[in-house]
């Protein structure tokens, strides 16, 4: 599949990650979408490797992509780098306006869906209620955008039947959202008020290169329950 020029371009691609991280998964999706060979290194949350700490000294977080020895951090920055370095199967459109719109929605998703979801997972009481409300509002906007852009012929935000940048950025919701609801003890997913979003999630889950990467819910729930308890200092039986 890979011609010799593509192989040269690839050099060495390494991804530092955690199996449970939606941010890491996004980068894996981008790499798989383009058919890029990479070495995956599973990091230990409680014992981060020297490689990780020196590759991302600012945030000390995964994902970190290391290409020919050069590290890049932050999932959205990494995905754009992948798209600009490997030209096959474009993730973003070539059109500047389409790119601006995709970046806008990616930012919106991060600020109004991903962040509140994460904060709701790791909070309780009034603070959690506040974050769940924010999350619900964010989801409403996403549903509106899905209603406007998607139909029977356009299954994904990337246009047509192909996933794109926005799908990859939003994709974590198709698997992790249910986990966050269960562990956090709240509900935001509602097929009745979010029909287009649920259709999109169902379609995204079935994409051939996405499907095998989705971790089983029970495994995620068990893991995140432990993290939540740890962060909030909660007692074991909740």
């Amino acid at each position: 599949m890979a011609s010799s020029s593509v192989a040269d371009q690839e050099g060495q691609v390494m991804l530092l990650g955690f199996w449970f991280s939606p941010f890491v998964k996004r980068v894996e999706w981008a790499l798989k979408f383009k058919g890029i060979e990479y070495d995956y290194v599973e990091e230990d949350l409680t014992n981060k490797s020297t490689l990780l700490l020196t590759s991302n000294p600012i945030h000390k977080k995964v994902p970190v992509l290391i290409h020919n020895g050069n590290p890049i951090a932050e999932s959205l920055v990494i995905i754009e780098y992948i798209d600009e370095t490997w030209k096959q199967n474009p993730i973003l459109s070539q059109d500047p306006y389409e790119r601006a719109m995709a970046r806008f929605w990616a930012n919106f998703i991060e600020q109004k869906v991903t962040e509140p979801a994460r904060e709701a997972l790791f909070s309780k009481g009034e603070q959690q209620e506040k974050k769940v409300k924010e999350l619900k509002e964010g989801m409403e906007v996403v549903e509106g955008e899905a209603k406007a852009k998607l139909n029977d012929k356009t299954l994904f935000f990337g246009g047509g039947n192909g996933v794109g940048y926005v799908d990859i950025v939003l994709g974590w919701t198709c698997n992790w959202m249910e986990t966050i609801e269960e562990v956090g003890g709240f509900k935001v997913l509602d097929p009745e008020s979010q029909p287009q979003f649920h259709k999109w999630m169902a379609n995204f889950r079935e994409v051939p290169f996405i499907k095998p990467t989705l971790e089983p819910k029970e495994k995620l729930v068990e893991f995140f329950r432990m993290i939540r308890q740890d962060r909030l200092g909660l007692v074991a039986n909740k």
């Binding site: 932050e74 306006y97 970046r103």
Partner: protein
């Protein structure tokens, strides 16, 4: 083909809007500036940025783009004769990483440091200085973040060039000192001295006065 470029921006003290003015002027694009009263936003602005209802918004041939860093990328891609982002994908990734760092982390951590009560201030200042050090190291001995000329990251770092100096005077808290951050301080001097930046950036004294009035109640309560 006649091109219509309009920038909906905040008044002179609105630094995110100044980012776009600088970029458009550097690129040599003719544009109309429409000043928004942020206490009384126009129906057009609310229509063009219905999600966030904020400035700046760039309108190009009737198509609106919001969010200052996204607008900078759009300008870079639409008028590629004077690019503001580096050509190399890795250098571009680094510029994007640091711009996000400034907007998502540095500004907020520094704001905490400036406005903290005395008892919390030590820790907040320490955190802010750690982040400033990271930016200092990224700049190293380069004239600008963009190399020989002002680029995307320099424009993004307008907050460091302008807002920090102003806050230091208003809040009487020292963060960005020449002693601790010689590269950054030298960069600030060079950046604000660039002809286009000088045209767009408000004078420090004017900003100090403005911020003092804006924060008058906060300052009185301390």
């Amino acid at each position: 083909m006649a091109e219509e470029v309009k920038l909906f921006g905040g008044m002179w003290a609105s630094l995110y809007s100044r980012r776009i003015e600088i970029a458009l002027k550097m690129t040599g694009v003719q544009f109309e500036f429409i000043e928004e009263d942020l206490q009384n936003k126009s129906p057009l602005l609310l229509q063009y940025n219905s999600i966030h209802k904020k400035v700046p918004v760039l309108l190009h041939n009737g198509m609106p783009i919001a969010e200052s860093l996204i607008i900078l990328e759009y300008i870079n891609e639409t008028w590629p004769d004077n690019p503001i982002l580096p050509r190399d994908p890795y250098d571009r990734a680094m510029a994007r990483f640091w711009a996000r760092f400034i907007d998502e982390k540095l500004i907020w951590v520094s704001w905490d440091a400036y406005r903290s009560k005395e008892e919390d201030q030590g820790k907040a200042i320490e955190e802010a200085c750690k982040q400033l050090k990271a930016l200092e190291n990224e700049l190293k001995e380069k004239e600008f973040f963009g190399g020989d000329t002002v680029g995307y990251l320099d424009i993004a770092a307008i907050m460091v060039a302008s807002w920090f100096g102003v806050m230091q005077e208003v809040m009487k808290v020292e963060l960005l000192t020449e002693e601790n951050f010689p590269n950054l301080c030298q960069w600030v001097e060079k950046f604000v001295d660039c002809p286009i930046v000088k045209e767009c950036l408000p004078h420090k004294e004017k900003m100090v006065e403005f911020i003092r009035v804006l924060l008058k109640d906060f300052l009185a309560s301390r």
